[in-house]
């Protein structure tokens, strides 16, 4: 099973190639907003350096957000188009679930978080048994510091919480005051959604979908929804 996975929701984009559970290669490049120039060439290089091309994957895996909308649009449209033309199915993956995988192996309780505005952020809660993959405890949501107590009630109250991602100051301050020494913040430079995690989640996830079923999970109301009443 060959999987080509991409992630374009963060400030760094990535592409990764997996075959039968093993990562053959991955590539990262900056600028989710500008990744339209780099995305396809990087995907092609990754494939060709392994003797493959765009028609080779059995499945595409794509980060559907939440996160930066410009990057998400670029990534999702690229993969949907390739999927449609090449008849290759797509596995959609949550950016937060992919981010949760960059927590330390021994972190039993993980909160992946990505900034939205100065005081709002996207976050979810996951638990992880030793040696296992993160299991979701709450849905991906757009939150503010006031919604934290209710989010944290989904988790055991004595465990340390590992926050991975670029946690905005408002989130840090709120968590520190709510759970103090139980909050551990990973350096944002170490923790960003990776295309590798996207492949891993796709490999062990439900059967992939048709391109037309793949939609972004922005969690924000977009201008199109506002202006035209179209629900994305």
């Amino acid at each position: 099973m060959k999987i080509l996975g991409i992630s374009t929701s963060g400030s760094t984009c990535g592409a990764a190639l997996m075959r039968d559970g093993a990562i053959l290669g991955c590539d990262s490049f900056p600028g989710a907003r500008k990744c339209s120039e780099e995305l396809i060439p990087r995907m092609e290089r990754l494939l060709s350096s392994n003797g493959l091309d765009l028609r080779s994957p059995d499945m595409f895996a794509v980060d559907i957000g939440p996160g930066g909308m410009t990057g998400l649009k670029i990534g999702i449209v690229t993969i949907r188009t390739l999927s449609q033309v090449l008849s290759i199915p797509i596995s959609p993956v949550s950016s937060l679930e992919a981010l949760a995988r960059s927590a330390p192996e021994d972190a039993a309780l993980v909160m992946p978080a990505l900034p939205c505005t100065k005081s709002t952020f996207y976050a979810a809660l996951f638990r992880r048994a030793p040696g296992g993959a993160p299991e979701r405890l709450s849905p991906d949501a757009l939150l503010d510091p006031g919604s934290l107590p209710s989010l944290l009630s989904a988790a055991p109250s004595v465990q340390p919480l590992h926050i991975v991602g670029a946690a905005p100051d408002a989130l840090r301050a709120a968590l520190s005051s709510l759970i103090g020494p139980r909050a551990f913040f990973r350096d944002p430079a170490d923790s960003r959604p990776t295309a590798v995690a996207v492949c891993e989640i796709a490999a062990s996830g439900p059967a992939p979908s048709r391109f037309s079923d793949i939609l972004p999970n922005y969690l924000c109301v977009t201008a199109a929804e506002n202006n035209f009443g179209i629900k994305v």
Binding site: R33, G68, G71, P115, T120, V221, E225
Partner: protein, 167 residues
């Protein structure tokens, strides 16, 4: 955010407007939103050209009216927006303005079309036409932005010069 007028000056040429932008660009901190208001030809893009120079950006800065936002890399990322063609504030969400403010500074032309986004600091410049090459520039800043600008001796000197530049 509470804004206080910190200067009300005149520039006598595009070069002077640009120079003002450069001095401010050198003093900017991450997370600043610079609201640029004023009619066509008022100096908003000229000012931003200077702002970019002050941030060490070598690329050519042009009006983002049609692209909506242009991005430059410098000491801080500069995200040059133009709200002229936007119809609703939610379009700013689509353009990832929150991300931009986290990654660098945002300079927005026609900023008066919408309420300012949440930011760490707010600067407002209003450009008015005084004569063919002369522009009147009103500068307002929130306390944090004012403090950042205060650190620059050359800027403080420039802002305290009498109207029309050095006499």
């Amino acid at each position: 955010m509470e804004l206080r007028t910190i200067a009300d000056i005149e520039t006598v040429s595009a070069a002077e407007t640009e120079e003002l932008g450069q001095l401010i660009g050198e003093a900017l901190e991450r997370g600043a939103f610079i609201a640029l208001e004023g009619d066509l030809g008022g100096g908003k893009t000229t000012f931003t050209r200077g702002l970019a120079r002050g941030l060490g950006i070598a690329s050519n800065v042009t009006s983002p009216t049609f692209q909506l936002v242009r991005e430059y890399e410098g000491r801080l990322g500069l995200f040059h927006f133009d709200f002229y063609r936007l119809e609703t504030a939610s379009e700013l969400v689509d353009l990832d303005i929150g991300y931009c403010l986290g990654a660098g500074v945002v300079a927005a032309e026609w900023a008066d079309r919408f309420p300012p986004p949440e930011s760490d600091s707010l600067l407002r410049l209003r450009f008015d036409w005084a004569a063919e090459n002369r522009r009147r520039i009103l500068i307002q800043a929130c306390p944090r932005a004012a403090a950042a600008l205060e650190k620059s001796d050359s800027l403080r000197l420039r802002l305290s010069a009498p109207p029309g530049g050095e006499q």
